[in-house]
Amino acid sequence: MQIYLPIAEVSVNAFLLLGLGGIVGILSGMFGVGGGFLMTPLLFFIGIPPAVAVATEANQIVASSFSGVLAHLKRKTVDLRMGGVLLVGGLIGAALGVQLFNALKAIGQVDLLVKLSYVLFLGIIGSLMFVESLRALMKSRGGSVPKRRKHTWVHNLPFKMKFRTSGLYISVIPPILVGVLVGILAAIMGVGGGFIMVPAMIYLLGMPTKVVVGTSLFQIIFVTAFTTLLHATTNFTVDMGLAVLLLIGGVIGAQIGARIGVKLKAEQLRVLLAIMVLAVCGKLGLDLLIMPAELYELGAAGGH
């Protein structure tokens, strides 16, 4: 069934959108990432204009994370205080990111920015996570419990705050910086930023894995909601119809994913996530290196 999207101004198959939403939703529920880093490139592939894909994806992430957060709140696996601190950074980052997005859009380099950001972040995070989680997997097979809490430079910074749910007493500077970075990425890449935030929370802040997923979803909801509003008011690129179709599939997928996620071990989850992150990174990297079939592209006029 073909459906015409009013803002994207293209006609696509409704079941394709529901299916994409569902698959990405399962992954989102399993790993606690928004799934945007997969969905946004997939939307490019089916012919949605990049600006619309990025903005609409932000809208969809809000909704798909919403049911996830509810599930985590019920299980008391959300550190609300940490989420709040991350959120402050996230809002600042999102505002900066939309500015950057619009500036680069005017000179025709926004696609490059988006793709390079993907390759860079996914590459680094993916390989780090892959190596770490493989090591952890080996150790847990060997029977020894890995030592998680180490005293690093993070613990020597000022403005310390107590995060009871996570059992941490650390400075607010690192979480705010993580929040800013995630906010920028939300705005320019159309991602929730979970793939940055989850590892940062585990490895940098030293939060227990149990509360990481819920807390990151909590922050993602507000940052992506803010991003949606910024894109809607400055670019007019949020497609309501597209968002609703993606998220109906996405929400159901997320529920299935959350149940699968509970059954798997944290280390196994991380290996799987790492492999996927690297796969997406590889595909995007190849696209930049291989000579494109069409050397020209069309863009809306206005500004050089």
Binding site: P6, F66, S67, V251, L295, Y296, L298, G302
Partner: protein
Amino acid sequence: MLRLLTVLSFLLLSALPVRAEEVVAGLSQNRVSITATFVGSEILIFGAVKRDSPPPEDNPLEVVVVVEGPSAPITVRKKDKRFGIWVNTEAMELAAAPSFYAVASSAPLEQSVSTLDDLRHLISVERSIKISENPFNIDDPREFVDALIRIRQKSGLYKLLESSVTLQKDTLFETRVALPANLTEGEYRTRILLTRGGEVTSEYETVINVQKVGLERWIFNLAHEKPLIYGLLSLVIAIAAGWGASAAFRMILRN
């Protein structure tokens, strides 16, 4: 006075090409509504040649149909290899390019319309693309225009439908022009031209109105006129739909 008028009208008539043949045409529809399930539309363009005298023998009659969507300025960007990766380097702004352009003819276009009449009546797609400034910074502006045409042809927005107009007994003609799903709203200028020996002898013009209707119209207007309310509404709808879907899913699981 009367004599003067006669002389004047004689002069006028002789200045114009001989109007021995005139085109009378119609469309299967002159309004296209873009709804949620819009998958494109096919317009049947048909008509007849009206004659006061027997047709001239020398050159065969040809029919050319041009459907042109609303024009807008556009930027064409070129990729080049820099530091090992393919990035946009050169850009050229075109003052106006039609969002849709279809040329259908009863014979190959070059045979139907001479270069001079193509220029005079702006028939082939190249003529409808306007380059405003003289682009000094670009080596070959032609290349950019060609790229625009190539890309739009690939996505079905620009079409050259040669020999697709069927002409019966030099009098009745018809053709079909498919409008793709990714249409821009606006007035689609539709022209039907009769040619003989590459020269345009008669022209008929009408308009197809392409409009978003119903929910599509409402969403589009809201997004552009009240973006903040639209943004908030998108969030509320998204969250409600998300919540609804998860509640429904849980109900299904329980049963």
